[in-house]
C-alpha cells in the first residue's frame, strides 16, 4: 500500500527560553493521500531550524486540507515509553480519517498533553518528547504549564500558530468525559441547531427557541451568532438588491478588460447566473422611478404592538403594498408583448431576500387577501424553505410586484431594477427621525422613510405611480386598516 508522510517542523520559544523543535509525521492508511505537498512545505521550514533543546513537542498534524482540529483516538505509546524514529505514537482522528502519527526522532514520550478522547487544534502540542530521562521532569513541568504559556510563533516558524489556549490539562489529569452536554435541561434544540451552535460557539441554553414547541432551530442559532444572511424572523429580512446601479450591466457587457494580476475569477453559481440574466433582460424595458417620503410613526407603533404575535415588518409592508395595489391594478399589471396590458388576477408580492451569496424572491401569494398573521407565518415558511433551497418554482417566480428593503442597513434611499414580467418594484429605505414642518409652521420630529418605485413605463405612467404611492403612504400613515 502506498503511503505518504509529512512532518511539521517549527521553532517555538517557550517560557523557559528554550527553542523547541517539534515534529510529527503521519503515514495515512489510505493510498494516494494528497499530502506530499505538506511534506515539501514543512521540510523546507525544517531546514531553517536550529535545534537547541532536546525536548521536542509533538504537534497535532494537519491530516487533510480541511482539517482544523483533530481528536486523539488513542495513544499507542504511554508516558515513559522509548520511541524510535518512524514509530507510531498516537492515532489522530481528523474530519476524514483516523491516522497513525509517527515520531521523526528517537526519544522518550515524556508527557501526554492532550489525553485520549480530547481534541486539539492543528499545530497545538499534544505531547512532549524528551531525549534523555533527565529531561522528563522538565518536560512534565512544561506540559503542566503549557496552558498558560502559549508560545508565540517565532518569525521563522511557518507552522500553524499554536492556539492561544490549547486545551492542555495536566498530563496526569484523568480525561474528562467527552460529552457532558446532554444533561437534563429544558432547552430543546434540533440536531442541526446543535451542530451550528458548536460550530459558531453559541451557548444553546442562552438562545430563545422560536421553532415549534419553543425548540431552538438552526435559524435561532444563526441569529444568535449574528449571521446576517439568514434571519427569518427579524423585522426586515436581509435584503440585497435587485438594485444595483443601472450602469452595472453596461460595465459587465463592455469589452472585457484584462484582469489585474493576482485577481481570482469565481464563476457564478446557478442562482447568480439567474440574477445576471434577469438583470440584463430588464435593459429592454423602458423604466422610470418615482420616490415618495412616508411618515412611519404610526406604522412603527403598530409594529411594536403586533411584533409579539409574530408579525414581521416584511409582512406589514407587503400587506400595505398589496392593499394599495388592489386600488391601482395597473401597477400590478405586466407588459408581456409590448402591445397589451396583462392585468393579473392575483396580487402576489415578491420580496427580495439575500441568501448565501445569492438573491431570491419568495412570493407572498394573494397578499391582499391574507391577514397579517397568516402573511407573517407564510413568510417565515418561505424564508425557511428558501434557505433549505426547497422553494417550488411557483413560490419564487409568481410575483406580480416586488418589494426590496435595505432599510435595516441604514440605506435611506435606493432604486431597484425591474424584474422581468413585472410592472413595478418598490425599494424601501430606512425610517429615520426627520425634522418636519407642518402646514402651520410647527416643527416636529417624525420618523420618515423614502420609498422609490421603479416601473415599466409602457403600462404604468407617472400619474399612475404617483397615485399608487399616495395610496400606499396613506395606508402606512394610517395603518389600522392593515390589521383588519
Amino acid at each position: 500500500m502506498a503511503s505518504a508522510s509529512s512532518s511539521l517542523l517549527s521553532k517555538v520559544p517557550t517560557s523557559s527560553a528554550n527553542t523547541i523543535s517539534f515534529s510529527a509525521s503521519l503515514s495515512p492508511a489510505l493510498p494516494l493521500f494528497p499530502s506530499q505537498f505538506h511534506l515539501r512545505r514543512h521540510r523546507r521550514t525544517g531546514n531553517a531550524l536550529r535545534v537547541q533543546s532536546k525536548i521536542r513537542e509533538i504537534f497535532m498534524p494537519a491530516l487533510s486540507s480541511t482539517m482544523t482540529e483533530g481528536k486523539i483516538v488513542s495513544w499507542i505509546k504511554s508516558e515513559g515509553d522509548l520511541l524510535s524514529k518512524g514509530e507510531s505514537v498516537v492515532v489522530v482522528e481528523s474530519d476524514k480519517a483516523d491516522m497513525d502519527v509517527e515520531t521523526f526522532y528517537d526519544g522518550i514520550l515524556a508527557a501526554i498533553v492532550v489525553p485520549e478522547g480530547e481534541s486539539a487544534p492543528v499545530g497545538a502540542p499534544i505531547g512532549l518528547l524528551a531525549e534523555t530521562e533527565e529531561e522528563i521532569a522538565e518536560a512534565k513541568a512544561k506540559a503542566a504549564s503549557a496552558g498558560g504559556s502559549s508560545p508565540a510563533p517565532a518569525p521563522a516558524a511557518a507552522a500553524p500558530a499554536v492556539s492561544p489556549s490549547p486545551p492542555a490539562p495536566a498530563a496526569s489529569a484523568p480525561p474528562p468525559p467527552p460529552r457532558p452536554a446532554d444533561g437534563p435541561r429544558k432547552t430543546v434544540a434540533t440536531p442541526s441547531a446543535k451542530k451550528l451552535a458548536k460550530q459558531h460557539k453559541v451557548d444553546i441554553s442562552k438562545v430563545v427557541g422560536t421553532g415549534p414547541f419553543g425548540r431552538v432551530t438552526p435559524g435561532d442559532i444563526e441569529a444568535a451568532a449574528g449571521i446576517v444572511s439568514t434571519k427569518p424572523n427579524v423585522a426586515a429580512p436581509a435584503v440585497a438588491a435587485q438594485s444595483a446601479p443601472v450602469a452595472a450591466p453596461k460595465v459587465a457587457s463592455a469589452p472585457s478588460t484584462p484582469a489585474l494580476p493576482g485577481s481570482t475569477v469565481v464563476p457564478f453559481t446557478t442562482m447568480q447566473s439567474a440574477v445576471s440574466k434577469n438583470m440584463l433582460e430588464s435593459l429592454s424595458v423602458p423604466s422610470f422611478r418615482v420616490g415618495y417620503p412616508i411618515t412611519t410613526d404610526a406604522l412603527d407603533a403598530l409594529y411594536e404592538k403586533v411584533k409579539p404575535k409574530g408579525v414581521t415588518m416584511t409582512a406589514l409592508l407587503a400587506k400595505a403594498a398589496a392593499m394599495a395595489l388592489a386600488q391601482h391594478p395597473v401597477v400590478n399589471a405586466s407588459c408581456k408583448d409590448g402591445k397589451s396590458f396583462t392585468y393579473n388576477s392575483n396580487i402576489n408580492i415578491a420580496v427580495a431576500v439575500a441568501i448565501n451569496g445569492g438573491l431570491i424572491t419568495p412570493v407572498l401569494q394573494d397578499a391582499d387577501k391574507l391577514d397579517l398573521y397568516l402573511l407573517s407565518q407564510k413568510w417565515k415558511e418561505l424564508v425557511e424553505k428558501a434557505r433549505a433551497k426547497q422553494l417550488q418554482p411557483n413560490e419564487y417566480n409568481s410575483g406580480t410586484f416586488t418589494l426590496s428593503n435595505l432599510g435595516m442597513f441604514g440605506v435611506d434611499r435606493f432604486d431597484a431594477i425591474l424584474p422581468p414580467g413585472q410592472g413595478a418594484i418598490m425599494a424601501v429605505g430606512a425610517s429615520k427621525p426627520t425634522v418636519i414642518a407642518d402646514k402651520d409652521g410647527f416643527f416636529s420630529v417624525k420618523n420618515k422613510m423614502l420609498v422609490n418605485v421603479t416601473a415599466d413605463h409602457r403600462i404604468v405612467y407617472g400619474a399612475d405611480l404617483a397615485a399608487f404611492l399616495q395610496t400606499f403612504s396613506k395606508i402606512i400613515e394610517n395603518p389600522e386598516s392593515l390589521t383588519m
Partner: protein
Amino acid sequence: MQASLSLSVSNPAAIPRSSHGFESSIPFPSKPVNLRFCGLRREALGFSSASTYPLSTSRSSRSVARSNKVSASLGSANGSSSAPKSFDYDLIIIGAGVGGHGAALHAVEKGLKTAIVEGDVVGGTCVNRGCVPSKALLAVSGRMRELQNEHHLKALGLQVSAAGYDRQGVADHANNLAMKIRGNLTNSMKALGVDILTGFGAVLGPQKVKVGKDTVVTAKDIIIATGSVPFVPKGIEVDGKTVITSDHALKLEFVPDWIAIVGSGYIGLEFSDVYTALGSEVTFVEALDQLMPGFDPEIGKLAQRVLINPRKIDYHTGVFATKITPAKDGKPVTIELIDAKTKEPKETLEVDAALIATGRAPFTNGLGLENINVATQRGFIPVDERMRVIDSNGDLVPHLFCIGDANGKMMLAHAASAQGISVVEQLTGRDHVLNHLSIPAACFTHPEISMVGLTEPQAREKAELEGFEVAVAKTSFKANTKALAENEGEGLAKLIYRPDNGEILGVHIFGLHAADLIHEASNAIALGTRIQDLKLAVHAHPTLSEVLDELFKSAKVSL
C-alpha cells in the same frame, strides 16, 4: 457447514443491536435479528446442473438416508392424523415472500408440483413493505442529495437551480414500484404453473396444511416461509402517524421536520438517508455504545463520518427508549430515555415523529406449530443447517422446513431465497448446505455499504480459536479512476483473508455502488476461489470493479 456454525458462535454480539433489552436478555445463537434487507432473486443461484438426476430414485434414496434421524416426532404429533398416502402437491410453501417465491421457482424447475399459500399479498415484506419500496425512496434521496450538493455539482461544472420534491410524487413512485414487482412475482409463478392458494396457511399435521378456514391440502414436503413483522418493544405506542414503523414510513405520508429513529441498524440508517435528503433533521436512539454496531468497526466509523456527522443528524447511544408517546393535543412526540446499563432515567426527547427501527420479529403465530410439537424460540422456528424444523424434543420434523426471517438465521430476503433453493435441492436429491458466510448484505445509503463474510473482529476471534493468521488489505475509492470521474472518491474496500492459503474471510465495502461491487467477493467465497487466482482475473478499465481488483492484488498471500 463448519463455517456457518462458527459464524453463529462469533456473532452473538450483533444480536442486541436495537435499543431494547429484550433481545439481549435471552441468549439465542442466531443471526442478528434485525438485519433485513433485500435483493430480489431473478433467477436460480446456479444449482441447475443437478436437474439431470432421475428424480424418483434420488428422492427415495434421500428419504432412506433421512429416516434414521427422524422418527420420534411423528408419534407425538397431536395424535390425530397420520400421514396421508397420496398428496395434492409435492411441495407446499406457506408464505409468498421473496423466500417462498425463490423456493417455488426452483421447485418447478426441478419438476415438483408446487403450491404457495399467501394470506396477505404476494411479495411479502420485501416487496410490499421493505427493501423494494425503500429502494424507490432511496433512489429519490440519492438524486436530491446530488442536486442539493452545490459544491459537488460545481466541481463537475454543472449548474442546477433549486431542487425540490413533491412528497406525493415520491410516495407514488415507491408504491408503484412495489405494485410492479408484486405483479412480476405473481406472474412469474403463474406462468410456471405454481398454484397460488389464497388464505392464511397453518400446519395441520404431518404433510397437511390448512388454507384459510377449512381447505385442507396435502403435500409431500412443506416449507414455512412466513417472514417477519416490525418489532415494537413494549412501552412504545405506535399510532401510524407520528410514531411509526417502517411499514408506515415507506408510505411517506408526511415528512416531519424532526424525526427520531430508534435503532441505527440498516433500516434506521437507510431511513436517515431518505429523511435528511428530504429536509428532515434526524436523532438516532441506539441501545449500544456506538452507532451501526453490526458493521465492521472500521467501516462503521468511516460510514459515521460520511453518513452521520456532516448531516443534520445527532444521536444518543447507550440508551433505551422506554416510553414513546405519539403527538397529540398539541404536544410533540415524547421519547423517554434511560441509560442502557444503569437503567437511570436520562432525558426526554421532544420530536415531531419517531420511527421504530429496532428490528423485526418472526411472524409465526397461528401456524399450527403445536400440532407437530414444535416450540418457537422467541418466535423463531428452530431449524438445523439444512433448514429442517426441529421439534421440542430436539428431533427433526419430517418433511417440514422453515426458511427466511421465520427461522432467524439471516434475516435477508435473498438469504431466504437461497435457503429455499437449498431446501429444494435437498428434496430433489442433491444434498446441499447453504454457506451463510457467502451471502452478501448491503445497506443502500449514499454511498452504499456492503459486506460478505466475517468482520475483522469476528475473523480474529475465529483465527484465535482455530490457530491461523489473519491479514487485512484495504483500498480506497480515491485511487479509482471511475470513482474520481464521478467525483465520488469517498470510500474504502477492506479484505480480511488468510495469508497462508489465500482464503477470503470477509469483504467490506463503503463507497459508490458498494452493493453491486460485493458480488465478486461473495461469489468467490461461495465457490471457494482463492485470492491468488482472483489476482489474475481481469477487470474492465476504468470501472469501479477495479477497487476490488486492486484490493485482491494488494493482498499478500504467502504461497
